[in-house]
Amino acid sequence: MKTAIVLILAIAAQTAGGVILTKAMHGVSASGTDETIWLLAVRSIESPAVWLGTALLIVFFALYAAALSWADLSFVLPATSFGYVLNVACGHYFLNETVSPTRWAGSVLIFAGVMLVSRSGVRAVNPAPVTIEGLAKESE
């Protein structure tokens, strides 16, 4: 249960961070023409949205590392890839990006993959694999 909560928060922070950063950086580069990379850098540092997006990505990394302190890497890594699906959905709804059928197909594959991985248990080193459901029962 702990793993599920931490990873859901991590994915949410990563997705929100990505959307906010994309929106902020589009604003930064659209606010002038013909500028140097340094001007872009200075304007990025001055943008509160860039800081917020970066902070959310740091939150993601902290939660990701925390989950790795008890769960398998071969579980956590594919599980967090669910963020790609959320990113596509958020890009579609909040940034008005067009999503091709290929991209939706990719999202479905990732979703299926994450479902399979999550059924394989959080930590499968022991002979009896520890599942999310098992952990929930344990903590009750």
Partner: protein
């Protein structure tokens, strides 16, 4: 050729970073209680862990190699190619972290890898 070498660097440095960070975090031990006094101690142990530091360094190398390759190659080619890192990292976790990767987990990881590749195509 230059692109292939850079993509290999992105994938290998990223996977190595993930394995090292996991090793560091496992060494520090399970983070369970959220008490402020303990949190400071735990954070200190994480940041001082040599594995963790090397892992972050590898991640940084991977990230800058990714930015570099994007300066001449298309994102829609680079991201599908780097999605291989899901499989490479899982292999690393099995080999170096002695994690048990069941058929179910391998199948899921392959689906994720394929999905990430599809998602980044134009």
């Amino acid at each position: 050729m230059r692109t292939a070498i850079m993509i290999a660097l992105v994938v290998l440095a990223g996977s190595t970073g993930d394995v090292l960070i996991t090793k560091g975090m496992k060494q520090v031990g399970e983070i369970s209680t959220v008490r402020l006094t303990e949190f400071g101690q735990t954070l200190k142990r994480i940041l001082l862990s040599a594995y963790f530091q090397m892992g972050v360094l590898c991640m940084a190398v991977s990230f800058f190699a990714f930015l570099a390759v994007l300066s001449w190659a298309d994102l829609s080619f680079v991201v599908p190619a780097t999605s291989l890192s899901f499989v490479i990292t899982t292999g690393g976790a099995k080999l170096f972290l002695k994690e048990h990767v069941s058929t179910l987990r391998w199948t899921g990881t392959l689906l994720v890898c394929l999905g990430v590749a599809l998602i980044s195509l134009p």
